[in-house]
């Protein structure tokens, strides 16, 4: 029976080789893979898929992963444990097998591969693994994303990790709430839905393979939670991640989009707070543009975006005349005065009427003069407040140097500083009475502080002059007293001499 089976197999093999060569002549490896030859005829699926696998074209055989001897046509011999046959690998051993080559640059070089290596190491440190003590367990294996026998290059459109298919692949888990609940219930599952609404997602659907997909932002193997400082999607790293495409003039060529955003952001008040001061409450790219649903805010929605942090400013603006006027003129709300990526610290300079200033672009002596007058008055008030505060500070510093007690005045001046801060919010109402309501009390406090600080300095000199007068009076009294004592004692001496008594008893 066994002899019959072997004979039949040999006949079939003899017939199948020329047939297979006819069907996929170019995919045949140079080295004869006896395992592949039999399995293609027997069960077919795995072997058929392996026909187009990058590993087969690189010269790998079934035995490269499954072990055994691929050179012999004797099934028992080829699949014997003595020849290292391991059968179908399961669990962690799958990725370990892949990692044997892909984690080793030298091995990969032998196959003529010059791309990145270390994928398994990256995967073991990623969010797709769990660490308990020193034990790392992979939550998914290489084959879960790349497939097992039909592995293709990621740039191959048929690969499950290709630009046009990878979003669906990731979503197969990440869009499934019941599945995700097992690993991370707090993670949203609407990433794909949002992505489809983004510019990236729309372009991707249209077949644009250059637009960002999951792995472009999250990386492929080293995916880490955004909270981790080493994550490519951490707020601190995001400008660099987005900038890989958006700051590259070459990559963005043909899109019509500028590539100065990242540089502008770095120079902005937001960028400096985030990247230089490491203030994690400062916005990164995604805070304004969204992450999976990334899109530039429209003219109408800018105040909503900025208003998520600058809530009071946005509220005042919405109630202001400028809101309706900007809408009528189709001007973006916050951006018209503050810019977008290069937002600079909002100083009093913004409230100016010089040529090129935001106010002057609409208001002039003859053009919308009501606003011109209001802006002029507001700036005057603000300059007065700042100047008075500055003068008070100078006087206070001088008084402090002289050792005067000025803590109370400094404490009071904090309210003036607070008024100045509030004025920056109040300006968004674009109403002179509302602005005066905030600045006037601050100005009053600052003037009083200046008066008190000046009085403290004057008091210092008053004390010195007072002391000089007092010490002079005391010194004169001392001299007078000393002379008086001398006179008394001389008189006593003379009296004693006259009376013939001794000078003292």
């Amino acid at each position: 029976m066994r002899y019959f089976q072997q004979r039949l197999l040999r006949i079939l093999l003899a017939l199948s080789i020329p047939m297979a060569a006819l069907v996929v002549p170019t995919m045949l490896p140079a080295q004869q893979d006896e395992c592949f030859t039999c399995h293609q005829m027997m069960d077919g699926d795995a072997a058929t898929a392996f026909v187009s696998d990058v590993h087969r074209s690189a010269g790998l055989t079934c035995a490269s992963c499954h072990g055994g001897d691929a050179t012999t046509d004797d099934m028992e011999e080829g699949m014997s444990k003595a020849r290292g046959f391991i059968g179908v690998p399961t669990g962690e051993s799958i990725s370990a097998l892949c990692g044997k080559c892909h984690d080793d640059a030298e091995t990969m070089e032998r196959y003529g591969y010059e791309g990145p290596t270390g994928q398994l190491t990256s995967l073991r440190g990623s969010a797709h693994s769990q660490q308990a003590g020193t034990t790392v367990t992979l939550l998914l294996q290489c084959t879960d994303c790349h497939g097992a026998h039909g592995i293709r290059h990621p740039e191959d459109a048929a690969s499950p990790v290709s630009a046009l298919r990878v979003t669906s692949l990731c979503a197969s888990c990440h869009a499934d709430p019941s599945y995700m609940r097992r690993y991370n219930p707090s993670l949203p599952t609407d990433q794909l839905a949002k992505y489809r609404t983004s510019v990236h997602g729309e372009q991707n659907l249209q077949g644009n393979t250059r637009t960002a997909t999951c792995n472009d932002c999250h990386s492929a193997h080293d995916i880490r939670p955004a909270e981790e400082s080493t994550s490519s999607t951490n707020a601190l790293n995001l400008p660099q991640t987005c900038g890989r495409c958006h700051a590259s003039a070459e990559y963005m060529r043909g899109t019509g989009l500028p590539t100065t955003q990242v540089a502008e952001f770095r120079s902005s008040v937001h960028g400096k707070a985030l990247l230089e001061k490491r203030d994690m409450s400062a916005p990164s790219c995604n805070d304004c543009h969204g992450n999976h649903g990334a899109a530039p805010p429209s003219v109408q929605s800018i105040s909503n975006v900025c208003g998520t942090c600058h809530a009071m400013n946005a509220e005042l603006f919405r109630e202001s005349r400028h809101n309706t006027e900007f809408a009528r003129l189709d001007k973006p709300e916050c951006e018209t005065c503050h810019g977008n990526h290069a937002v600079q610290p909002a100083t009093e300079k913004l409230l100016a009427l010089d040529a090129g200033s935001p106010c002057a672009s609409c208001h002039g002596k003859d053009r919308a003069p009501e606003g011109y007058r209001a802006a002029k008055r507001m700036r005057l008030l603000l300059d007065s407040l700042m100047l008075t505060m500055h003068e008070a500070e100078v006087q206070l510093d001088a008084a402090e140097q002289k050792g005067m007690e000025i803590d109370d005045i400094r404490f009071a001046l904090r309210d003036a500083r607070q008024a100045r801060l509030q004025s920056r919010t109040a300006i968004h109402a674009f109403s002179l009475p509302k602005f005066e309501e905030v600045v006037d009390p601050g100005l009053r406090i600052a003037r009083q502080a200046l008066k008190d600080a000046s009085a403290a300095n004057e008091d210092y000199y008053y004390r010195r002059y007072g002391l000089a007068v007092v010490t002079l009076i005391i010194t004169l009294t001392i001299i007078f007293l000393a002379l008086y004592i001398r006179r008394i004692e001389q008189r006593q001496k003379a009296e004693h001499h006259a009376s013939g008594e001794p000078t003292s008893t």
């Binding site: 007690e405 803590d407 005045i409 005391i474 007293l481 004592i485 006593q492 003292s504």
Partner: protein
């Protein structure tokens, strides 16, 4: 008017006493004036203290604020506080000079033992005034200095714990400590001080100034009338002291510092007032263990014993009682002065 008062108060007797009263004149007479200077500074303390009381409000939430208000808003409030603080320091200095001059001239010898005992107690009470008054502004430095000071008191074996709790009004320095220290500073200590001072001055008036040993039997010994000669010289010195006090108070006003925060970490460089510095420095330099005692306990016991023995010096110095100038007690006195000066300077340098 004079007659009216004379009928009721027998002023003639007082005038007669003053006319007859004389003060020995010799090469050590200059030391006589330091008692008067101390008294003058004490009077300034009382007057400026009463003025401060008009504004001071004891309490964790009010003490610091009331002093700040006094210094910044009240006319001459800064001057009153500064004068009070400076005159307190000058008073301790003058009292120390007075005490050591009395010691070295053996003025404590019979029949002036009571004057010495009350004088030393008055000096100790002055130190207690300084310690209790230091906390009253409730600033950071005072808070932690009081903490350290009461900790030291707490290290005394057996009675230290209860003493510390009595001083603090609890386990920690808190608002209760402030209330207690205020009570000590303005009521308890002044009451005891007044009694002791009355006895001290009464004894001085009754017994007159002591002449140095050997001077009493000198047939050529001179004296000057108390009125007006000595009294006017006293006033002259008081005026000089007043001038110094005014210059110090105006040019070096006593700073208020930062309000005490019991939850904050102790700032670096916490040191007591200069007159406690030598004790603090010695306690710092003592080894962890001396004999069978902890270093700090040993130090506290040592100072406690020395201070107690110091009160009774007249009774130990038998030679001075016989009118002889013993070398041993001169050596002890000089050793104490050098010890205090050395460790005060060392403490100052090592700040």
């Amino acid at each position: 008017m004079r007659q009216w008062l004379n009928d009721r108060m027998d002023l003639d007797a007082v005038v007669s006493f003053a006319k007859k009263k004389t003060v020995p004149a010799h090469r050590h007479s200059v030391w006589y004036y330091f008692g008067g200077v101390t008294l003058f500074l004490f009077i300034i303390q009382v007057v400026s203290g009463i003025l401060l009381l008009f504004y001071y409000r004891p309490g964790e939430d009010t003490a610091f604020e009331s002093i700040r208000f006094l210094m910044s808003k009240v006319h001459f409030g800064w001057l009153i506080r500064s004068v009070h603080s400076w005159s307190a320091n000058l008073m301790v200095l003058a009292a120390a000079v007075h005490m050591f001059s009395v010691y070295l001239t053996r003025a404590y010898r019979r029949p002036r033992e009571i004057t010495w005992v009350t004088g030393v107690l008055l000096f100790y009470l002055s130190l207690a005034f300084g310690f209790s008054g230091y906390l009253l502004p409730w600033n950071e430095l005072a808070y932690f200095a009081t903490k350290v000071g009461t900790d030291i008191a707490g290290s005394v074996p057996f009675v230290g714990g209860p003493i510390m709790e009595l001083l603090r009004g609890g386990e920690q320095v808190s608002g209760a400590t402030l209330s207690r220290f205020f009570g000590f500073h303005v009521a308890l200590f002044p009451a005891i001080f007044t009694v002791l001072l009355a006895i001290h001055l009464l004894m001085v008036q009754r017994q007159g100034m002591s002449s140095p040993i050997g001077e009493e039997k000198n047939p050529k010994a001179r004296s000057i009338p108390f009125f007006p000669n000595f009294f006017l010289r006293d006033v002259l010195l008081w005026l000089i002291v007043l001038n110094i006090l005014a210059i110090l108070a105006v040019f070096f006003p006593w700073e208020l510092g930062v309000k005490a925060d019991p939850f904050a970490a102790a700032p670096a460089g916490i040191v007591p007032e200069w007159y406690f510095l030598f004790m603090f420095q010695v306690l710092k330099l003592l080894p962890a263990h001396v004999l069978f005692l902890e270093g700090e306990v040993f130090g506290v016991l040592l100072f406690g014993t020395a201070m107690t023995l110091w009160i009774f010096i007249p009774f130990f110095d038998r030679q001075s009682q016989k009118g002889q100038r013993g070398r041993l007690f001169t050596i002890i006195g000089l050793a104490v002065i050098i010890f205090i000066l050395f460790f005060t300077i060392l403490g100052w340098v090592m700040l």
